[in-house]
């Protein structure tokens, strides 16, 4: 078994891993290695052939594969080494990474710092408690996306989609363009988890109905899906008897949420948030295990890849500071609390000495709010209050904390972010 040492090992070569590695290298750490499970860099962006990526980062609208190509080109230009088809199997709290591939066999890599960038996976049927048979024809939306866009296979002809997250909406259009008939998108919640633009351009454009407060209660068919039964749900999300309708179809796509993929983080002893399923991190995006950083969808599920790149670059810079021993000692950290209407915040802790002049705090809201205020409280004092015409769980929100706030409030132990409706 080979044993090697690297300053920074990045687990995952998707958008987060690429941006983190690039930023680490630009910060002066030469010895950065990316481990990628798939056969090419870019991760899930490669199957995202639709456009709408990069408006914030590049000021133009790119497809997912085009967005990935820009970061891959930059990583190549910087000469950042990477190993493809390589599976990281284990990380110890001492940052020893075990990985395997077909050419090197099992490798042991001692890392000065580790950046977790493994992304997320889709919530599968097994986690949804849908009754009925287990026939062929049930796919997660992302699997269908890969089959259609990369492999060139159509998973079915008559389609029902459960869940109105962006991948489900994008696949409704994609399947329609390729000749399938998408009969319905059913959404459990009374609002869609997807972007407005996707509802208009993926559903409305093709007259695909979206049924809010509806779910699939039964799947029919023994060899292959022959129909699904859709029912309306009450305010407790329980199906209302008598509202069932049977819709014949051969395919059911599931777009029911994304879960950060953190088995490796757990093996390293990283503390996870029960809300996000990702690591609990400080202002440097460092986890509870020193020298182990996290970014992108493995940390918390993002809506736009542009924010992933931005966040990952920060993780890369901080990992570089860590291995170069350039980090200032943080004092007693400030806890960041998710108050009314806020589900979580990233980060959870802030050492003001390390926060820089501006620190972006990202969060998601718990409900749909109109004309509400995003408020930042230091104790009882509201130090920031910004009106938002609309807040929705499907969109990530952010507040920026400045060094002035920390300077004006020495000895602060807690900052709360909350939503106020008046």
């Amino acid at each position: 078994m080979t044993v090697t040492e690297h300053d920074i090992v990045v687990i995952g070569g998707g958008p987060a891993g690429l941006a983190a590695a690039i930023a680490a290298k630009k910060s002066g750490v030469n010895d950065v290695l990316i481990l990628e499970r798939g056969g090419e860099l870019g991760g899930i962006l490669n199957q995202c052939i639709h456009n709408g990526f990069g408006l914030h980062t590049f000021g133009e609208e790119l497809t997912g594969s085009e967005y990935a190509a820009r970061f891959i080109a930059e990583a190549e230009e910087l000469g950042i080494p990477y190993k493809l088809d390589t599976m990281a199997l284990d990380i110890t709290p001492e940052r020893v990474v075990t990985a395997v591939n077909r050419t090197d066999g099992v490798m042991t890599i001692k890392a000065g710092a580790v950046i977790l960038a493994m992304g997320c996976r889709e919530r599968p049927r097994g986690a949804l408690n849908i009754a009925g048979f287990r026939p062929a024809g049930i796919f997660s939306a992302g699997t269908a996306q890969r089959l259609v866009n990369i492999e060139g296979y159509m998973p079915g002809k008559e389609v029902v989609i459960l869940g109105s997250g962006d991948i489900g909406l994008i696949m409704a259009r994609r399947m329609t363009l390729e000749g399938a008939r998408v009969k319905l998108v059913a959404e459990l919640m009374p609002y869609s988890g997807g972007l407005k633009r996707n509802i208009v351009q993926c559903l409305d454009d093709f007259d695909i109905p979206l049924l809010l407060s509806h779910t699939v209660v039964d799947i029919e068919g023994k060899e292959r899906v022959t129909a699904v039964v859709v029912a309306e749900v009450d305010e407790n999300r329980r199906p209302i008897p008598g509202t069932e309708q049977r819709i014949s179809c051969d395919t059911l796509l599931l777009s029911c949420g994304l879960l950060p993929e953190n088995e490796l983080s757990q093996s390293a002893g990283v503390e996870l948030s029960p809300v996000t399923g990702g690591a609990v991190v400080n202002e440097s995006l460092e986890t509870s295990v020193g020298g182990v950083f996290a970014c992108g969808n493995v940390l918390h599920v993002h809506d736009l890849v542009d924010y992933v790149s931005e966040e990952a670059a920060l993780a890369g810079e901080n990992a570089a500071r860590y291995v170069r021993g350039e980090r200032c000692e943080g004092g007693e950290p400030i806890s960041l609390r998710a108050g009314n209407g806020v589900r979580y915040t990233v980060p959870s802790f802030i050492a003001p000495e390390r926060a820089g002049d501006k620190l972006t705090v990202r969060f998601r809201v718990a409900d749909v709010y109109k004309n509400a205020f995003v408020c930042v409280y230091c104790g009882d004092e509201c130090v920031q209050r910004r009106k938002k015409r609309v807040l929705a769980p499907g969109e990530m929100e952010q507040v920026v904390l400045t060094d002035r706030l920390f300077a004006e409030n020495p000895g602060l132990s807690e900052i709360t972010i909350k939503i106020e409706t008046a």
Partner: protein, 124 residues
């Protein structure tokens, strides 16, 4: 007089915008909360356009499909015509991101360009 109901995509608010038309002429736009809503609605009613993104078959490639898009937006009514023309075409590997795969697709004056690269397959 015709009435068209639209959902504005300018921001997450998603205003329901009502456009009243008389033949080709727009009489009124209502329901929007900002100027972006009005310009979006006017464009949607008079000249709705979309960028089409899809894949094309590749001959002799390490992969069987290459991702592609219309280089700019095309009339919404021509989406399926564009799809049919792309479906009947075939690119030849190697394909580089940005390569023009179809010139003037479906007579729209817009080209179809590759949005990913496909290397030539290894000779056996």
């Amino acid at each position: 007089m015709n009435t068209v109901e639209l959902t504005c995509i300018g921001c997450p608010l998603g205003c329901n915008v009502t456009v009243k038309t008389e033949g080709e002429r727009i009489i009124s736009v209502s329901g929007n909360t900002c100027p972006r809503g009005e310009s979006y609605a006017r464009k949607e009613v008079t000249d709705p356009t979309r960028i089409v993104t899809t894949t094309m078959r590749v001959k002799g490639g390490a992969r069987s499909r290459v991702a592609c898009k219309t280089a700019s937006d095309i009339p919404k009514g021509k989406i399926f015509e564009v799809m049919r023309e792309i479906a009947s075409a075939q690119a030849e590997a190697p394909v580089r991101l940005g390569d023009v795969l179809i010139v003037n697709v479906a007579d729209t004056g817009v080209d179809v360009t590759a949005t990913s690269s496909v290397a030539a397959s290894d000779p056996q």
